[in-house]
Amino acid sequence: MSTLLIIFALSIYLIFYFTYGKFLQKRIVGETEIEVPSKRMNDGVDYIPAHRLVLFGHHFASIAGAGPIVGPVLALAWGWLPAILWIWIGNVLIGAVHDYLSLMVSVRYDGKSIQYVAKDLLGKNAGISFLWFVLFLVILVIGAFAAIIADTFVSVPGSSTAYILQIIAALILGVLLYRSKLPFWLSSLIGIILLAFSIYGGFLWPIHLTYHTWIIILFFYIIIASAIPVNILLQPRDYLNSYLLYFGMLVGIVAALMSLKSFDIPAFTSFSANVIGGKSTPYWPAIPLIIACGALSGFHSMVASGTSSKQLASEGDGLFIGYGSMLTEGFLSTIVIVSIGAFGFTALGSHSTALANAHLFGQNYISQFVGNLGGAVAAFSKSYATMVSSMLHIGYNFMVIIASMWVAAFALTTLDTTNRIARYIVVEISEPLQKESITLYKFFTNRWIASIIPAFFGILLAWTKKYTVLWPAFSGANQLLASIALITVSVWIYKKLNRKYLYYALIPGVFLWITVTGALIWYTILIVPGYVKSNPLQGFLVGIIMVIMLILNFVLLFSMRSSFKKEEE
């Protein structure tokens, strides 16, 4: 079953790439005589054509992180079939379409960002909503990821040591890469060896600290990391992480292909398994709040319309980069499903009767299964390690640390890099203040303040330890962002391309809008009050964010309607 699923996933992705993808490319986007921005506007600085493989590498590295791993772990509460279906269908029909069309609209708009295009096609409100969604996304992602990381560090103590040692490895690699005369491959090799040592070090010297101690450490880490010059830590660390990703994916694929094992967890548990905040959660509309990045991520529209569109060497490469890299990410999520689906129970070992049948499994998966394995990341890494160690005979404990560190490292990257993005947005959002109150403006745009505010709110949320509440909120913001992008490209198809094909973007867009809006309303009414009861401060914060996002979401819908109407006239 496990092997079959991998092969099946590969076939689906290949078939859709060559049929649906090509259809989008040929029929909807079509051809244009105008050259791509990287050639027409080539300036040797920002606009430079890049080889498709190089661009793919960059694009994929930017979109693949901890997101496509954590979501599927939680979604397995509904059973592996509903989870994998959303990953696959969401991926080929919504997520990859979203990424590809965002890339192409940006290409046709001289490499301008999706936010700019949204403003142009939908009006000013869309641009502002976009900014706010990103800000909320950033705060919530810090909250969710910090909680997940601290959880992982507690349940897999070796991973924290490994991570700290990786920082040292990154510092050394930084010197080798940027200052020494060593060839690139040699510095990299030394870096990889050091990385292996740091994982071994994690194996030898696990650090045992409490959850809240880790949260405090993470807070200071975020602030400090954003002040250190990038070439010292951030850049070499990110570079090292890329090897963790390659290794993790490659080994995962090989092991999964070899596994030939049936799934131990139920294919389907119930429509309303207990997922978010321990409450019974309806699969529809809540699923996009759980599986975001592996199926659809609004954040990708920003990546696609950032540097990728400025470096695309020909429009033909767009499908490979936009559609292709999203499929690859979906594939990563598939590996997660396979690892836990087939090896989760083995990893868990003895378990209570709480997981005895499908219905009970659905009710108790998060608390008894994921919880007993040590949280979302630990659940994945232990299952994954079980799979890899039994197939490829690599030490189990070693693989647990590698896998947890892989996910934690990416999540940590998120923490310090989102902080930079947040700083930018805070400055941007504060702009109107400049006229009202220059003192306030100066306060908010101060380098330190702008970076402490989002980190502070994020960490405040993480303090509650409730990542199953925070994760859906983050995903919700992310999906709303995707919905803006999808609506934007729909209007683009309608106005600038062929009206006949409007529905290929509009249907997923509207479907997503309805689903996410429904899910967020459900979340706000049923989940937030419970959160407020246990953690008033954080509960209100999340509640306010939800309400604002919902309002902006409706504003957006009206912008779209009037934008279509204007075109009719």
């Binding site: 300036d43 890469l177 020494s180 690139f184």
Partner: protein, 293 residues
Amino acid sequence: MKYIFFMGKGGVGKSTLSSLIAYKLAKRGEKTVLISLDFAHNLGDIFNMKIGNKGVRLEEHLDIFEPDIDRWVEEYLRNTRVLIKENYKYVSVFNLDNMLNLMKNSPGIEEYAILHLLYEKTKALADMDYLVVDMPPTALALRIFALPFITREWLKTLLKLRKEILVKRERIANVHGKEKFDFAVDEHEDKVYRNLKEQEEENAFLLKLIQGANIIPVTLPVQLSFKETERILKKLSEFKLNVPFVIVNRVKNDEWKKGCVCIEDKEVKTFDDFEREIKFQDFDNIDSEILQL
């Protein structure tokens, strides 16, 4: 070489005084250069001959120059444009033309032109004993003296930032190899860095020149002129420049002293009515004073 700058309000007799002193120094056997940095040149009128940019050797020891500042500015802008066209691959020159036109009229270009001319002349005539400079009217003259100080601060900032850029480029080039990018990595290769260094060198030279120079304000024995001289002295002391004394020109009798409170702390040299006494031998005391500086 010693430098003597005459400055003051228009019409106080800077040109005549500087001509007089240059002439007397030359007569004493000091190799002397006299430069007018005023737009309204009138050395030619004083010596009754055409002088111009190339200069004239008047006596055995006296060279006089009247550089054409406007023409220099125009030439300088033309050269800049040519350099841009030579060096730019991507940017259309249209925009830059626009920009250069803007710059032609932007404040500061004249001050720079004057300083640069002074730099060139001084460098070329390094073996002379005295350089006597006839400065333009007060406002411009003060801006000229201030410019090297301001420039020094800006160059410091820019060089620091540029170094930061080069370090970042070096990090990148260390990974990718230098060939991959068309930016310069090395301090010696980077034309911007080199240019900044050249500017810094020129500016340091000018600063040293100005800081070592004797600046002699010239004033008339009237309230308005005194007030202005007061401002000049204040400004020059802000930059810690040497002002050995102030010359009060066209004094008929002692009555000027009443209005002179403001410049009391400076020794004041007086002259009889300038129009009447225009005989060089009457100024014996002044050139020996200057020789003592």
